[in-house]
């Protein structure tokens, strides 16, 4: 196989990496907590507060948004692990009521949504929040 072929094969292998087998709790520690902090509160103006996570599910495009933000889409997690992590985060940080209504993300849904990642996160986020306010 040519050098380029080797590289592409490696890339394909990585993109199809199997589930790492960590629990969502540990994946949160390893992939998210550094910026979002243990309580999910983040940093004003730089890292969103995860308690707002559940609100996005209430507007069209919000469910996709949570998968396509770079932190989700670009994470090294497999689609299955990312689905499990998002479901865990929504239950852990979202409003208590969400546990009853949440329609969990599936690995297939993640596969369909996560590529490519969003380029203009702030604009998308603002648009969704405006819709949320309009809906209130």
């Amino acid at each position: 196989m040519s050098r380029a072929g080797l590289g592409l094969a490696a890339l394909a292998l990585a993109l199809a990496a199997p589930a790492r087998g960590e629990t969502p709790e540990v994946n949160y520690l390893l992939q998210c907590q550094g910026c979002h902090l243990p309580d999910g509160s983040g940093k004003s103006g730089a890292v969103p507060d995860l308690k707002d996570l559940g609100r996005f599910l209430a507007v069209p495009g919000g469910r996709e948004y949570l998968v396509r933000v770079p932190g989700s889409a670009q994470s090294p997690l497999s689609d299955a692990d990312l689905a499990a992590l998002l479901n865990w985060m929504l239950r852990r940080f979202g409003p208590a009521a969400i546990a009853d209504t949440l329609e969990p993300y599936t690995p297939e849904e993640i596969t369909a949504l996560r590529r490519p990642p969003l380029a203009d996160v702030a604009a998308t986020r603002a648009r969704l929040l405006a819709r949320l306010r309009a809906g209130d």
């Binding site: 790492r20 087998g21 960590e22 629990t23 709790e25 540990v26 520690l29 390893l30 992939q31 907590q33 550094g34 910026c35 902090l37 243990p38 940093k43 730089a46 890292v47």
Partner: protein
């Protein structure tokens, strides 16, 4: 003479563990600088392996008389991806910052293997900030370190961005969980 323990670290203490994993020049350090550690002189960076007969502390860590269990030694098992000064040599401890600094809440996390139980633990590397570089116990190990653009796994970054000042002093390694695999 226990109180002389840290005196002439290059000599008395080191002699005792000279059979361990490091190169002959391992005691020579690196350096600060301007808030970010850069290579300077050779430092410990090997993975500490327990020696036969190593005891385990009640908390489940290796014997503190071995590098794998000594928080003032770069070989301490939790420091497997530290790039900076050890808070434990700067007035703090392995999991508490020196007096007058602030621990940055924003940081990166990785895993290190605890040789006492063979398990991978999730380690939070938090920078101590708001005072200039400590200058003691530079430690540069890069297990799993990634470039700056791979932010959540980069030890080159001055993580003090979560505190009032970005001025870097030293680093702690806090156990925050148990992982199944290296990650």
């Amino acid at each position: 003479m226990a109180r002389m323990d840290r005196w002439m670290t290059g000599f008395a203490r080191s002699l005792a563990r000279r059979t361990s994993r490091r190169s002959v020049l391992a005691g020579i350090g690196t350096a600060l600088v301007g808030g970010a550690a850069v290579p300077l002189l050779p430092v410990a960076r090997g993975r500490a392996e327990p020696a036969p007969g190593d005891r385990v502390t009640p908390s489940g860590e290796p014997d503190p008389t071995t590098p794998a269990g000594d928080p003032q030694d770069c070989g301490y098992w939790r420091y497997c991806a530290v790039d900076g000064f050890l808070s434990s040599c700067c007035g703090g401890s392995h999991n508490a910052c020196p007096p007058g600094t602030q621990m940055s809440p924003i940081t990166w996390l990785g895993t290190c293997r605890n040789p006492a139980d063979g398990k991978e633990y999730v380690i939070s590397y938090n920078d101590c900030c708001g005072k200039d570089v400590c200058g003691s116990c530079i430690c540069r190990r890069h297990e799993g370190d990634k470039p700056v653009y791979y932010t959540p796994k980069s030890n080159d970054i001055d993580w003090c961005m979560g505190t009032r000042e970005i001025i870097y002093n030293s680093t702690v390694a806090v156990v925050v969980g148990v992982a199944r695999e290296k990650g």
